[in-house]
Symmetry: C2
Subunit: 274 residues, 2 copies
Amino acid sequence: MTTGDRCEMPPIPLRSTPIKGFILDITGVLYNSMEGTDGIPIQGSAHAVNRLYSESRVRFLSNESTGTVGHVVGKLGRLGYTGIREEDVITPAPTAAEYCKRNGLRPHLLVHPGIRSVFDGLSQEDPNCVLIGDAEHAFTFKAINTAFRHLMKMKDPLLLSLGCGKFYQRTDGPCIDVGAFAEALKYSSGCRHVVIGKPRGDYFQTALDSMGLAKDEVVMIGDDIVSDVGGAMAFGMRAIQVRTGKWRSEWESHEIKPTLIADDLLSAVKACID
Amino acid sequence: MTTGDRCEMPPIPLRSTPIKGFILDITGVLYNSMEGTDGIPIQGSAHAVNRLYSESRVRFLSNESTGTVGHVVGKLGRLGYTGIREEDVITPAPTAAEYCKRNGLRPHLLVHPGIRSVFDGLSQEDPNCVLIGDAEHAFTFKAINTAFRHLMKMKDPLLLSLGCGKFYQRTDGPCIDVGAFAEALKYSSGCRHVVIGKPRGDYFQTALDSMGLAKDEVVMIGDDIVSDVGGAMAFGMRAIQVRTGKWRSEWESHEIKPTLIADDLLSAVKACID
């Protein structure tokens, strides 16, 4: 594929303004997923994370919706990322629970059993929205149809989804992600759809706020060209695409042009702070 | 909802040219679905079908993909539709098998167990397309993900779907249909999508050919505003929407304007031939 005479210059050069902080995606950047295990760490990433903790500010912004923040941090610890603190990790489920509370929403949950507890404080009777995460094997026909029927009963059907990922990469191959099931429900019910998580700007803002930094002081590093890179750049941040995780070589000519494409997290970090 | 100053006149008046034949949808027109049973016949429809067989020409054009034609005709017989012949019933699975054969396609099947046998004559090794029907409970996460992975491996990923229905109506409520799962796979894989069945014009043409009639001599009667009515009218036929099956009152102001909206099949037939 040729991009013809399209300008390929990145909109914001990497070193245009001083880099004071980093927002990192987790899966595909720190480790690769492997079914039935915690996954496999990506070489150099632990070293990169240690450098960021000692020389910069760093937050971890994930669309992971199969486990709680505690579960994510526990897994990272077992994979050798021993210094990551729970307060530095942001996942969409708590953000969604807060969103429901603020907007008087009573969600019908179509989520992974691992995150159900996050929504314990919310009324789920007489649902006025459906909340969908990466339910994985809980995506049965019956569960999808039940969610659909709830939407069909609502006067103004509303679907919240924890991210809108197309797929995630496991060592044995790509896996279809929550965004696909959100599209299915939208198609059949005609519902409104609100994404909680990347690529939404306010989700990046949450990470910026927790660092006390502005969007032009921070670089996003991720493996998803749409959720990580596209979301951050549309929000006005610089963003580095890594060639690990779900990376596809055809993305070299993707319509989204990252600030930089780096081989892995360590290379990305070096390009920013060496 | 108001349609403002939009013209609501039907494009082709019902009696504009002589009506020589009828194409009928089956589910929601002849009977309503009920889980675990053959369904419940819709009052008056058997009488209407008998009149059409004695006074006109008639074909049954369905997007049903959970059973073979033999299975459909057997069920209709048990519901009191004893005169319907297999050769008068068209379902998309045999059409899809023929399409695959003609185009050198080796489908990976994500279909209901009830129609697998229709594809027995086709090679399914090293698939170069995915073929999806209303798999119902066979829509497991694993099966959907397997289909997705096949698409991701193809150079020019192609999805065939047996119809693209949003939902079908059962007596206990609406059920999400194959179109939703096709959208899910499209979203995540970026595949091409070819629909076999309504609302495609060539599917209506199959029914016309088997009657030896032209499109302006035939009226379509169905309960799906998009697949039945929209498809037939876009193809240049007259089409009657019935208020049975999946009918929704909000469709009174749908952007697709049927030639006529009738309470049920019997009313529709009377409006045409009395």
